[in-house]
C-alpha cells in the first residue's frame, strides 16, 4: 500500500528522466521534464495523506477539530505546480529558438557545443 503510493511518485520521476534520455524531439524532452516534476506532486501529496481525513478547509460541515490531511505538502505542491508551468514555458521558448537557429529539434542532429 505505502510502497504503491510512494512508488507511483518515484516511478513518474524516473520515467520522466528516462523520457529525456531517450527523447528524439526537444519538445518531447520538455514534456518529459514536466512529467518528472509531476512525480514530485504525487510523492508530496502521498506523504501528507491521512486515511479518513478531510481537506484542510474548515467550514460548517467540517468544523475546527475535524481530522484533516497535511496542508503543508499541499502548499508545497501548489508552489511546485507554478514552478513547473513557468519553467516549462521558458524551456519551450528556448526550444522555439533552437528550432529557428538550428533548423531542427532532434537532439542527435544538434552538433554545436562539442568538447
Amino acid at each position: 500500500m505505502s510502497v504503491f503510493a510512494y512508488g507511483t511518485g518515484l516511478w513518474l520521476v524516473l520515467v520522466g528522466v528516462f523520457g529525456v534520455v531517450r527523447s528524439r524531439n526537444l519538445i518531447h524532452t520538455v514534456v518529459c521534464v514536466a512529467v518528472a516534476q509531476s512525480g514530485t506532486y504525487v510523492v508530496l501529496l502521498a506523504v501528507g495523506y491521512q486515511r479518513g481525513a478531510v481537506a484542510p478547509i474548515f467550514s460548517s460541515s467540517s468544523p475546527p477539530g475535524t481530522p484533516v490531511v497535511d496542508p503543508v505538502v499541499q502548499a508545497m505542491t501548489l508552489t511546485d505546480i507554478v514552478v513547473s508551468a513557468t519553467v516549462t514555458a521558458l524551456l519551450l521558448a528556448l526550444v522555439i529558438q533552437v528550432a529557428k537557429r538550428h533548423g531542427t529539434i532532434v537532439p542527435d542532429e544538434l552538433h554545436a557545443l562539442r568538447g
Binding site: 500500500m1 505505502s2 524516473l14 506523504v47 503543508v72
Partner: protein
Amino acid sequence: MTRTARFVVFGIGTAVLVLLLGSAVFHLPAFGGTSHPYRDSTVTAALQRRAPNVVTSINFDQRGLDTFGEEAILLASVLGAITLLRPGKDETQRQRVPNAGRMLQGTRLAGYVLLPISLILGADVVVHGHLTPGGGFQGGVVLATGLHLSYVAGSYPALRRLRPLRWYEYGEAIGMGGVVALGVAGVLAGAGFLANVLPTGTFGQLVSAGTVPLFSIAIGIEVASGVVVLLAGFLEQDLAIAAKRGSR
C-alpha cells in the same frame, strides 16, 4: 555517446537509485498514517489567524516567503520567455494579424458567453481564497484563460483590444510590488518580513484573516497578467509565422 552507451549509463544509475529509493520507501511512515507534526502546528496557527482554508493560510501567511519566491519565479519566467521570444535582429517586426481563421458560429458564441462567466469566476476564486478552495494563483490562471476565450471565439483583434500587453506588464509589476510592499509593511510593524499585521476579524467572513486576502489579490493580479503575457508570447510566435507563410 552512442544511444546504447547512453542507455547503459542511465541503466546502471537507475538500478542503484531503485535499490536506494526502494529501501527508503519500506522505511517511510505508512501511507495514510496519522502522524503529521507540522500539520498539527499549521492548523493551530491558521485557526489563530481565523483562516478556515489552512492551505491558503500557509501560502499567504505562515510560509509567505515561499510564495514570494514563487511569484518571483513567475516574474522571471515571464520576463525570460518574452525576452527569448522577441524578434531577432534578422527577423522583421511582426505584422498585424487579421482574423485568425474562421470559426464555427457555435464555438464563437460559446466563447463570448463563457468569457464574462470565467472572469467573474476567476475574481471570485481570488477573493475567497482564504475561505474556500482557491486563491490568487488559481484565480489568476482562470482569469487569464478566460481572457483567451475571446481567441477561441475566433477574434484575435478582440483579444488584442482586451490585451494591451503594456498594461499587463504593469499588472505584473504592481502584483509583485504589492507583495514586496506587504513584506516591508510587516517589517515596519516590527513583526517581521511578510508578517500578517492586520486585525484578523471574524472566522469565515470575507474581510478576515488579516493580510491573507490582500496577499491573495496581489498574487491574482500578477498571475493573471503573467499568464496573459506568456500566452501572448507563444500565440504571437505562431501567428507571426502563419502570417509570413500567408504573405509568401
